[in-house]
C-alpha cells in the first residue's frame, strides 16, 4: 500500500505563552487526494501546515511526507512539498520571473530546466506578460497566482494551498479551481486546501478534516459528511411584505425582513406541505434559494460553541453568509 502523502501522528504545539494550538492531532492524506482542512480562525490549521512545511516548530508528534519522517530527513521531505501560504511572502521588489527562478534555484534546479518550466507555469497562470514587472505591481489575484507558480516550479507531489483564493474575484477564483483540479487529476499532485470559501472545498475536495480548538473533530469523505446534514435552510422571497413570521406546522420559519422568510427543512420532510400551508395563509412566494451552502451549515454547527449548537442562529450564520459566493 502506498505511503500517505501526509501522515500526522500525535502532533502537538504549545506556544511560548502556554497556548496549546494543537492537542495531539492525527491526520492522513492519501496520495492523489484533494483534501480540505477546515476550521474557524485560530483553530490550528495554519499551525498544522506551518509545522509540515517547517515554518513552525512542533512540540511533539510525528509528521511524515510520503513516508519520510521530517525529524529524520526534512530536506528530502521538502522536495515533495509545494506551499502557497495565506499571506504574500515574496519580495515585492523582485521581478515576477526572478521570484520563480530563484525558488527553483533554492531546490538546486538547473537554470536550463527551470526556465522552460517557469515559462509554462507563467503562461498557464496568465502571468507571462507580467514576467518582467516587479511583483508589487501585480493585482491581488495575480500575486496569488504568482505564489502558485512559485510553489509548483520544482514539481512537488504534495501541494499545500492555504486560502489560495482569498480576496480573489469570482471569475478568477473559478479559473483557479479549474487549474487546481487539473494539476490534481492530470499530474496526480496531492493537494491540501484550507479555505474560508466552503463552496470551494465542497466543489474541489474529496476528503475533509475539520479542526477546532486544536483537535480534529471530523475526518471523513466529503460525500459522507454531506449526508450527515439533516437540515437545510431556504430563503423565500415574498410577493407582499409580512409583519411577522407565519406559523408553518412541522417547519421552523424565521422572518428575515418584511420581504423574506428563512424556512428550515429537515431531511425527508415534504417541502410541498410547507408551500401549501403558506398558500393557505395567503403568503405568495416569488423565488427561493439556499441560505448557505450545505457544507457551510454543517461547518457552523460543528464548530460553534456548545451553547449555540441548538440551531444555526443569526449570529453564527452571518459570517457564513458573507463568505458564501
Amino acid at each position: 500500500m502506498a505511503e500517505p502523502a501526509l501522515s500526522i501522528r500525535g502532533l502537538t504545539k504549545v506556544y511560548g505563552n502556554g497556548f496549546e494550538a494543537l492537542k495531539g492531532i492525527d491526520l492522513d492524506v492519501s496520495q492523489g487526494d484533494f483534501f480540505a482542512l477546515l476550521g474557524p480562525n485560530g483553530a490550528g490549521k495554519s499551525t498544522t501546515l506551518g509545522i509540515v512545511c517547517s515554518l513552525v516548530q512542533k512540540t511533539a508528534g510525528q509528521v511524515k511526507i510520503f513516508g519520510i519522517d521530517i525529524d529524520r530527513d526534512f530536506a528530502k521531505a521538502k522536495y515533495h512539498l509545494g506551499v502557497v501560504p495565506q499571506e504574500f511572502n515574496f519580495s515585492q521588489f523582485e521581478k515576477v520571473e526572478d521570484i520563480i527562478l530563484t525558488q527553483a534555484g533554492y531546490y538546486g534546479m538547473p537554470m536550463k530546466e527551470a526556465k522552460p518550466r517557469c515559462e509554462r507555469l507563467l503562461k498557464d497562470l496568465g502571468l507571462w506578460d507580467k514576467r518582467n514587472g516587479a511583483a508589487r505591481m501585480l493585482s491581488g489575484g495575480m500575486k496569488r497566482r504568482l505564489m502558485i507558480a512559485r510553489a509548483l516550479i520544482h514539481r512537488p507531489r504534495l501541494l499545500i494551498l492555504d486560502e489560495p483564493t482569498a480576496g480573489v474575484d469570482i471569475e478568477l477564483r473559478r479559473s483557479m479551481w479549474e487549474y487546481m483540479r487539473r494539476i490534481n487529476e492530470e499530474e496526480g499532485t496531492s493537494i491540501i486546501l484550507t479555505t474560508h470559501y466552503l463552496e470551494e472545498a465542497e466543489s474541489l475536495c474529496r476528503n475533509i478534516a475539520i479542526i477546532n480548538r486544536g483537535e480534529i473533530i471530523k475526518n471523513t469523505s466529503m460525500r459522507g459528511l454531506l449526508t450527515e446534514l439533516d437540515t437545510e435552510t431556504f430563503l423565500l422571497d415574498l410577493a407582499e411584505p409580512l409583519d411577522a413570521a407565519p406559523q408553518v406546522e412541522g417547519f421552523e420559519v424565521e422572518r428575515v425582513d418584511a420581504h423574506q422568510l428563512a424556512l428550515s427543512v429537515r431531511k425527508g420532510t415534504d417541502l410541498n406541505d410547507a408551500f401549501q400551508q403558506l398558500t393557505r395563509q395567503g403568503v405568495r412566494v416569488l423565488s427561493m434559494r439556499n441560505r448557505a451552502n450545505r457544507l457551510e451549515e454543517l461547518f457552523v454547527s460543528m464548530t460553534s460553541p456548545p451553547d449555540a449548537v441548538s440551531g444555526i442562529d443569526s449570529a453564527t450564520s452571518t459570517p457564513a453568509k458573507e463568505t458564501a459566493s
Binding site: C53, L55, Q57, A75, L81, N89, G108
Partner: protein, 257 residues
Amino acid sequence: MNTRQLLISLWTMVVKEVRRFVRIWPQTLVPPSITMTMYFIIFGNLIGSRVGEMHGISYMSYIVPGLIMMSVITNSYSNVASSFFSNKFQRSVEEMMVSPMPNWVILAGFVIGGAARGLGVGLIVTVVSLFFTHLDLHHPFLTLMVVVMTALLFSIGGFINALLAKKFDDISIIPIFVLTPLTYLGGVFYSIDLLPEFWQKVTMVNPILYMVNAFRYGILGISDIPVSGALIAIAAFIVVFWCLALWMLNRGKGIRS
C-alpha cells in the same frame, strides 16, 4: 541535496543578494563613495595638510586604508542586516525555509552577498582615493586576505543582528552606537601612539583596531600592532560568529515560532 544542487542553491542565494544591492545602487553604492570623498577632501586635503606626516607618511595616505576599511565594515554589516531583515519583514525568508536548502547555505549566501557589497564599495573608495593620493601596495596578498576576512566577519555580524531584530530600528542600533564609535576609535584617523598610555591599553580591546592596522600594514607597510595577532583574532571571530549564527538559524531564532 547533492553537491551540484548545493552549489546551485548557494549561487542562487549569492546572485539574489548581489542583484538586490545592485538594483538599489543609488542607496547602496553611491552614498558611501560620496561620504568617503568628503573625508578625503576635508580630513585628507584641508586638515591633513596641516597635520603633516604620521609614521613618516602623508596624513592623506595614512587615513586611506582606515577609510577603505570603514566602508567595507559598515557596508558588509548593513547589507546583510537590512537584506535579511527585509526578508523577515516581507516573509520572503519563508521561501528559503520551505526549501531543502541547508541553513549553512542560507547563511553563506547572505554573508557572501554582504561581503560582495562591502568589497565593491571598498573598491570604489580605493579608486576615489587614487584621485587624492598615491598608494603603494606593500603586501597585496595580506591586504586582500584582511579585507575579505573583515567583510565576511561583519557580514556574519549583520546576519546575527537581523536574526535578533524585531523592527527596523533594531538593525540601525548596532551600526550607529557600536560600529561607528569603534571604527572612529580604531585608529582610522590617528596612530594609537598619540594616545596616553592608559587609552592605548583601552584601545587594544577594540577589534576594529586590529583590522584597520592589518589592512594599513598590507597597503602602507606600517602598523601599530603585530599583524599576525590581528589575523588570528579576525579568523577566530569569524569562526565564533559563524557558529553562533548557524546555531541561531538552526534553532529558528527570530524566524520560527
